[in-house]
């Protein structure tokens, strides 16, 4: 008779790391759907490129480090990194953009630090920042929402643009990005920033076409979709409320303050909350457990820092959106936050 002996507890809950990662990936579905709806199937192509590269890179590194490839790959963390980066890349960016970003993210930002759990910085955001700095043009060329586009872009055009940089009919990304009225289109935040530097007021800028809805055409729905996915994650307990609420709360506070003080040069809170990558960042990037603060109090502080940095960089920095910078900067504060936000354990209250 064989008695198997293991230390207690002998019973374990059902959650496991790969399920956690898979759930996060699933929760991006509404966001992906919205992005595809407004910006075309290029989004999907980028995601596929990034995920494939991520898995291959991870497998290669594990092979070099002589680790078991299949068990580690099954934790789905590489998949998630690829997915998150894929979502951040302009839909029509050339294929090598995603490849470079992901290889850098997985290889340098994650595996060089020791693999999952050891990385100080959010890998997807490290990859994103690398791309943004190295290829600023390609990375800011967000396409026009299909409805506003002057051209009908077919799926084969998209594939062709991504892999050969011109469509079958010989158009470049920039041609496609012309709107119906022939203007090159940037993202709403980008436009706002440019307009403000050109001396326009917020009111004048947001009177433009792309702001025709309340926070920028298409973008508001993308943000709402990510918000829905985030709430789903909260509901199933994969993430906790502290970080997203703190990010959104502090962004709201800052933007409200700015707007009330000087409405002409500060975007409305609505624009800040529902434009750009706000919701995506708050629910899917900042909450990356590995690189966030750990205690609940720490998480709140971490979120507040991200929200504030986000606003400061958007308003006063050189980039229209700033989720990646804000998160990476906040990542650096995590060890300090963790140190000072240690909860008082049972029986150790000083009274």
């Amino acid at each position: 008779m064989y008695l198997s002996v293991a230390p207690s507890p002998h019973h374990k809950g059902t959650g496991d790391t790969s399920t956690v990662m898979r759930n996060v990936a699933l929760a991006t579905m509404p966001g992906i759907a919205a992005l595809v709806y407004f910006f075309g199937a290029g989004v999907l192509v980028q995601i596929i490129i990034c995920i494939t590269t991520a898995m291959l890179t991870e497998a290669a590194v594990l092979h070099l480090r002589k680790k078991d490839i299949s068990t580690t790959l099954k934790d789905n963390s590489a998949l998630l990194t690829g997915l998150l980066l894929g979502l951040s890349i302009p839909p029509l960016a050339p294929w090598w953009i995603g490849v470079i970003g992901v290889v850098f993210a997985v290889l340098i930002a994650k595996q060089l630090y020791g693999g999952l759990g050891f990385n100080l910085f959010n890998p997807a955001m490290v990859g994103y920042v690398l791309l943004l700095i190295s290829f600023p043009v390609a990375m800011t060329n967000w396409s026009v929402p299909t409805e506003l586009s002057h051209h009908q872009v077919t799926f084969s055009d998209i594939i062709s643009v991504i892999f050969t940089e011109t469509t079958t009919t010989g158009m470049t990304v920039n041609d496609i990005r012309h709107t119906i009225d022939g203007v090159t289109m940037a993202t709403p935040l980008d436009t706002l920033k440019t307009d403000l530097t050109l001396g326009l007021t917020v009111g004048e800028s947001t009177a433009k076409d792309m702001f025709s809805s309340w926070a920028g055409f298409g973008w508001e729905w993308v943000n709402i979709a990510f918000l829905v996915g985030g709430i789903y994650l909260l509901k199933i307990g994969v993430i906790r409320w502290h970080i997203p609420v703190a990010v959104i709360g502090s962004l709201l506070f800052c933007s409200l303050l700015g707007y009330l003080l000087d409405p002409d040069s500060h975007g409305t809170p609505i624009i800040h909350l529902f434009s750009g990558a706000t919701m995506f960042g708050a629910f899917f990037i900042a909450t990356d457990p590995v690189t966030a603060a750990t205690s609940n109090r720490g998480k709140l502080l971490f979120g507040v820092i991200i929200g504030a940095l986000l606003y400061i960089i958007r308003n006063y920095g050189g980039f229209p959106d700033a989720i990646a910078f804000a998160v990476l900067l906040a990542n650096m504060t995590v060890p300090v936050i963790d140190y000072y936000s240690k909860p008082t354990s049972y029986g150790n209250k000083a009274d």
Binding site: G15, T17, T19, Y346
Partner: protein
């Protein structure tokens, strides 16, 4: 503002941090009645079934036992009697598989049970009896905490502080276990009687019986049986609400400060099964010979709540319940969260065994392989001690002991909630257990080094002292001689006065140095005393007495005052080695004739002492050199030689003993704080050292060599004289 007491009375409940809801799996047994298990052919009764020192067997192989008879007596303050659960014959007293995670065999009395059981009950007491008598009864009956910890109950029922809350723990929050539930459903009246006994002993302001709200029948029964002095509280089902500290927080909002026990904040927590057992022992005269055990798991055909004689092997018990062995299985003693997997199915049911689970690998699978921590923080959310399990895990892996202590590792109650939720399947609790053990042994080593250092420093100080005294005496003697030559009585008086002043001064010095010595000495003596009990033969003690008599005569005459003072300090510490008795005062206080007499007497005594010392050396505990207050001058040379010889022999014995001690393993039920008292129970030649580090071996060897050299030198000196 409302006081906590008001809120408690209003039925207010508090939350503890975290907690989890593991599947309860109590359905199998939660409605089954208590079924007595027939007496097996053999019972295996370990002498260590409790926290503290193992009991000492008082029966021999071959004797007949009666059910309820004492077979092993408690040893020391924290210990418990062991009672024969059956009539029969003691057929073996030897090491046997223990009901313990380590599985290391412990001393066990095996009884071949007879077909007829005649129960030896004690005379029932009543609630009108004296508290001391009741406590004594609880002690005699071998009652310990039946909830799992098995702490001797009588100790907990005699706190040295007034008690505000007596909490009866019937939460039973672990999955699977329904033993307390069954007991409450069927024997509520006896339980309540037991609680009354405890109330009488503790006189608490409030008595609260806490039951998890998943046991409605039990709650109803207890509510019916309880009287007005008891509050029955249904608490929310949440693991680990039944943890002592968590229960206290839920019921009173108070937290037991780190490193303290509940009694320090006026709270005593007793398990409900313990109060049942205590009630029976006091009011019915029934000592603890059986307990309710839940037997469950998918490999037993008849899961249920069984009344099992203590000492029944788990194998026998499972067979009675229709156990079908499969290829691989887990036999778990206790619940799945905090229980342990048995590695020998022959281990017996002991006082702490509340549940036995025989589960297939499908029911309780081994956890998947450990993955990297993803810092998700789930562990932290559920930790009832509000620790940071994740950080602790990193520090434990780094063996960063300072950080671990900083993060309150020792407040971890090892509930397993963190490991339960960890998505990366990290065996967190196991990391903590290992780290705790490492830190404890590290601290023990430090303490030992510290002790060795102190001993060394004390010795240096003593030698220094002796040297100055010797010089002083020589000088005084010379002065005396000078004065005598002058022939003036005046000179004599001056010299004498001078001498007295000096003597007083040196005495004062000694006394200020004494406290340090005394602490060490007291520890040594307590140990010595124990060893003495076991080692002193009648012959020796008579010789001891002889010698004592002689010495005391001398000492009495010489220095009553000082002796009295020292006697007061050492009152309860019977001296063991002859040296302990040397409390002779400084000489200069004596008149010349007296001194002479004393010297003669002392020499005679010395000769005897020497002889005795040689004999005792093998068994004597480490001679306490520190206790030698001030040997008289005439004794000095013999004395030192003697001492040196003893020291040498002891050092040798110590060094020898080492090998044996190192091979020995700590008794299984030994928590750290008790380890000091758990030195080997066989007569130890050097009982002071329960464990010696390599450093100490080395020191012992050096001491031995030094002592030898000194002895030689002194012998030579003596010869010359």
């Amino acid at each position: 503002m409302k006081t906590i007491l008001n809120l408690v009375d209003e039925g207010h409940l508090w939350d503890f941090h975290g907690g989890i809801h593991p599947p309860s799996r109590k359905e199998r047994t939660k409605d089954s009645a208590i079924v007595p298990i027939p007496m097996p052919q053999h019972l295996y009764i370990p002498v260590a079934q409790h926290v503290g020192q193992p009991a000492l067997p008082i029966v021999q192989v071959g004797v007949n036992t009666r059910q309820g008879q004492l077979i092993a007596r408690k040893e020391g303050f924290i210990s418990a009697n062991v009672i024969a659960p059956a009539s029969g014959t003691v057929c073996e007293i030897a090491d046997y598989a223990a009901c313990h995670p380590s599985g290391i065999p412990t001393q066990t009395i095996t009884i071949a049970t007879s077909t007829e059981q005649n129960f030896e009950s004690l005379e029932p007491l009543s609630l009108d009896d004296d508290n001391q008598k009741i406590l004594e009864r609880i002690n005699t009956s071998g009652i310990t905490g039946l909830g799992g910890a098995s702490f001797p109950t009588a100790v907990k029922l005699a706190p040295n502080k007034p008690i505000e809350y007596l909490i009866i723990n019937a939460a039973e929050c672990e999955p699977y276990i329904t033993a307390d539930d069954a007991l409450m459903r069927e024997r509520a009246a006896d339980i309540i009687n037991g609680i009354k006994v405890m109330q009488k002993l503790l006189n608490p302001t409030r008595t609260i019986i806490a039951i998890e709200d998943n046991k409605p029948q039990a709650i109803a029964q207890i509510e019916q049986a309880a009287d007005d002095s008891m509050i029955v509280r249904a608490i929310p089902t949440l693991y680990p609400a039944g943890g002592e500290k968590q229960l206290i927080e839920v019921l009173t909002s108070l937290q037991v400060p780190s490193g303290k026990i509940p009694a320090d904040i006026g709270i005593v927590v007793q398990n409900i099964a313990t109060s049942y057992a205590a009630g029976n022992a006091v009011l019915k005269g029934q000592p603890l010979i059986s307990r309710i055990v839940t037997v469950s798991g998918d490999l037993v055909e008849r899961p249920g709540n069984y009344e099992v004689p203590l000492g029944m092997s788990i194998k026998d018990l499972l067979e009675q319940c229709g156990f079908k062995a499969s290829q691989r299985q887990k036999i778990i003693v206790g619940g799945p969260m905090m229980g342990f997997a048995l590695n020998d199915i022959n281990a017996p049911v002991v006082k702490a065994t509340n549940c036995v689970i025989a589960a297939s690998e499908q029911e309780l699978p081994n956890p998947p392989p450990e993955q990297n921590c993803i810092r998700c923080g789930d562990c932290e959310q559920v930790c009832p001690a509000q620790l940071l399990p994740q950080q602790l895990q990193w520090f434990a892996k780094d063996q960063d002991h300072d950080k671990l202590k900083q993060h309150d590792l020792f407040d971890c109650i090892e509930c397993g909630a963190c490991a339960y939720v960890c998505p990366s399947s990290i065996p967190l609790v196991q990391y903590y257990r290992v780290a705790k053990a490492e830190i404890r042994s590290e601290e023990r080593e430090k303490q030992q080094a510290q002790r060795a250092k102190e001993r060394f420093e004390q010795r240096i100080a003593r030698l220094e002292r002796e040297k100055t005294e010797r010089e002083e005496r020589n000088r005084l003697a010379a002065e005396k001689r000078k004065a005598a030559m002058k022939g003036t009585s005046n000179g004599d008086a001056i010299a004498a006065a001078l001498a007295r002043v000096k003597a007083k001064k040196s005495q004062a010095q000694e006394e200020s140095a004494a406290p340090n010595d005394r602490v060490a000495a007291a520890i040594a003596r307590a140990k010595a005393k124990k060893a003495a009990k076991q080692t002193t033969t009648p012959e020796q003690s008579s010789e001891d007495e002889n010698q004592l008599e002689q010495k005391s005569r001398v000492a009495d005459a010489i220095a009553r005052a000082k002796a009295k003072k020292l006697a007061a300090q050492q009152a309860d510490q019977a001296p063991q080695s002859d040296e302990n008795q040397q409390v002779a005062p400084a000489e200069p206080q004596l008149s010349p004739e007296e001194a002479k007499k004393a010297r003669i007497a002392a020499t005679v005594a010395k000769a005897k002492a020497k002889k005795l010392a040689a004999k005792q050396v093998e068994q004597a505990p480490q001679p306490d050199e520190n206790q030698q207050v001030a040997p008289t001058e005439s004794q000095q040379s013999t004395d030192e030689a003697n001492k040196a010889r003893i020291a040498a022999t002891v050092a040798k014995a110590k060094a020898k003993k080492l090998a044996a001690q190192q091979a020995e393993q700590a008794p299984p039920h030994a928590p750290a704080k008790l380890e000091a008292e758990q030195a080997p129970r066989t007569p130890p030649p050097a009982a002071v050292e329960s464990e010696l580090s390599p450093d100490e071996i080395k020191k012992a060897r050096i001491a031995q060599a030094v002592a030898k050299a000194k002895a030689n030198a002194l012998a030579k000196k003596n010869l010359k004289k």
